[in-house]
Amino acid sequence: MSRIDTPAAGRMQTIARNPVMIALVMTLAIAGCSTKKNIPGSAGELGLGGAGAATPGSQQDFTVNVGDRIFFDTDSTSVRADAQQTLDRQAQWLAKYPNYAVTVEGHADERGTREYNLALGARRAASTKEYLISRGVPANRLKTISYGKEKPVAVCDDISCWSQNRRAVTVLGGAGM
């Protein structure tokens, strides 16, 4: 994980390329070009809710209507305020559907060395897990795994992608440690 030095001139661009904006645009694009009911994973990949016709209590319901992922600041493992809202929804959902165990997958962006990013991803998964526990999710329903920087979802060479890759994804079931 490196510090990203954003030059002053680049700041406008950074704001304009806010990941939420990008995600919204992409969601619309997907909705607009497809007439099929579900695009598995697509909305989930973007971590944003959209009005889905998902069956309540399903994986689809969780990823689309609750939001399966949160994002982190560079080099940071603390749960941001916007992420807390997502995790609060996750905790409520998991309380409603108590049969699910989940795995929190921690990820880092590519601007760091491999070994450190494995640990950083694990730290993000751990802080996410702790937050969910603080919101009443029993610890024995939560596992974690870190993929470091090895599984990016957004691919480009600037912060608009890196900020989407610094994430923790809550996966129903899953296989962590």
Binding site: S2, D5, R111, R114, Y116, L118, A119, I145, M177
Partner: protein, 436 residues
């Protein structure tokens, strides 16, 4: 695989050929001072070994090795005047001096009655008019590339005074497919990129392979069964086993110099600490105990010290401690963050990855942290590994906009950067030790 029997045969059979001409005079000119940095490469004529196609292939590999080192400049064969018909006889030195070949290599490859290959070569100092060295090797014909590398090592050593590094291999992570669904396999190749082959073939994520000191084993990290752990792979048999029974992710493994221990990080909740496991007794020892990320441990070649990275002080920095975990102290104090320390096989330097100003560099520093030198810098350079003579580093680089990482080598002096050819994308190179 690395057949020790092959090596033994090779070494036992290796013998010095009697010098034809009088011993090298004191005023021999063929000598490279490797410490000087950007040295002028030595013009050398490498003739086709007699006879036939195999002889030519061997001399081509010798020439390619020496050229890639940046210390030699093989002369175009088209410029040669004398045609060597008897590699045992002294050449016509005048013919070689005219084309400015300061050194000359002649050789011969023959098949023994038992099917083995006999390869012999002589290195001549053309200006002194003398033989510098001559050796012969016996091996199975399929090992001809190794013989060529061993000959290149002998020439390199005779001229530079340093051990060569051509008869070595590299383990690495071979990468294929798009970035969002990258397939990674462990692979091994000769240091020049030849003889590449996969060591694993599954969809499990595998990372950070490292050779054992005897080159028979590789320790690495695998996500097999979604349980990210450190593994041990026997190269000859392909047998795999998990190293230790730790209650969490283990990663960033490396062997101790005596090969008896694997040192690695154990992740527990938000913290990573460094442990060793004795491979015989299976006992584990915890070496660090912080609420931080301590990882990338690397032993000093005498096994008495360990370099590692930690963010205990905020950003990642390089620390050194005794092999028992005592005396932990920070040694990197430059601008930016430092990671992946790797102790030089000569013991005098630590190579690292440095992140500063949005760039990733490969550099070296003395083991007390002084004398930092950056060898290469760019969008993303990571994970140095030392050639066994401590003169060359290999690392991986991802350029902005590139589809994936590639391997590069660079001299300790910062000169002679070379792309290392691989089939697809490649990362996490680890250079093998030399077989003594």
């Amino acid at each position: 695989m690395i057949k020790s029997s092959f090596l033994r045969a090779l070494m036992v059979a290796a013998g010095l050929l009697a010098a034809f001409v009088a011993a090298t005079p004191a005023n021999a000119v063929v000598e490279i001072n490797i410490n000087k940095g950007n040295v002028e490469p030595l013009p050398i004529a490498i003739t086709d070994f007699l006879q036939g196609e195999l002889g030519q292939k061997i001399s081509d590999v010798v020439a390619a090795d020496l050229k890639r080192s940046g210390l030699f400049k093989p002369i175009d064969k088209g410029a040669f005047i004398e045609k060597i018909s008897n590699p045992d006889a002294a050449p016509r030195f005048e013919d070689w001096k005219v084309i400015n070949a300061q050194a000359l290599v002649t050789g011969r490859v023959t098949q023994e009655a038992d099917g083995r290959l006999k390869a012999e070569f002589r290195l001549w100092d053309t200006f002194a008019g003398s033989q510098m060295t001559g050796q012969q090797f016996f091996t199975q014909p399929e090992n001809w590339r190794r013989v060529a590398h061993i000959i290149a090592d002998a020439i390199y050593e005779r001229v530079t005074g340093e051990k060569g590094y051509f008869d070595t291999r590299v383990v690495y992570v071979a990468e294929s497919g798009p970035k969002t669904a990258r397939k990674r396999q462990l692979a091994m190749m000769d240091q020049d990129g030849a003889n590449a082959r996969a060591l694993t073939n599954s969809n499990d994520l595998v990372l950070t392979p490292r050779f054992s000191p005897n080159r028979q084993e590789v320790t690495y990290m695998s996500f097999e069964n979604n349980q990210p752990r450190v593994y041990l792979l026997q190269l000859e048999t392909g047998q795999r086993e998990v190293v230790g029974n730790f209650p969490g992710m283990t990663f960033s493994p490396r062997f101790s110099p005596d090969g008896q221990r694997v040192i690695m990080s154990l992740q527990q909740e938000g913290n990573a600490n460094i442990y060793t496991m004795d491979l015989r007794s299976r006992t584990t020892t915890r070496l660090t105990s912080t609420a931080a990320i301590d990882t990338a441990p690397s032993y000093s070649p005498d096994g008495s010290q360990i370099a590692f990275e930690s963010d205990r002080g905020g950003r990642q920095q390089i620390y050194v401690m005794g092999a028992d975990g005592s005396g932990q102290r920070r040694i990197s104090f430059g601008d930016g963050s430092y990671s992946t320390p790797v102790w030089s096989p000569r013991g005098d330097l630590i190579a690292f990855t440095k992140q500063s100003g949005g760039k990733f560099s490969i550099g070296v520093m003395k083991t007390d942290g002084s004398g930092e030198r950056i060898l290469t810098t760019g969008f993303h350079n990571e994970g140095p590994t030392w050639a066994p003579n401590g003169r060359v580093l290999m690392f991986f680089r991802q350029n902005a906009g590139a589809g994936g990482p590639q391997l590069y080598s660079i001299d300790l002096t910062g000169y002679n950067e070379q792309a290392v050819p691989t089939q697809g994308f490649a990362s996490d190179p680890a250079w093998s030790p030399r077989l003594e």
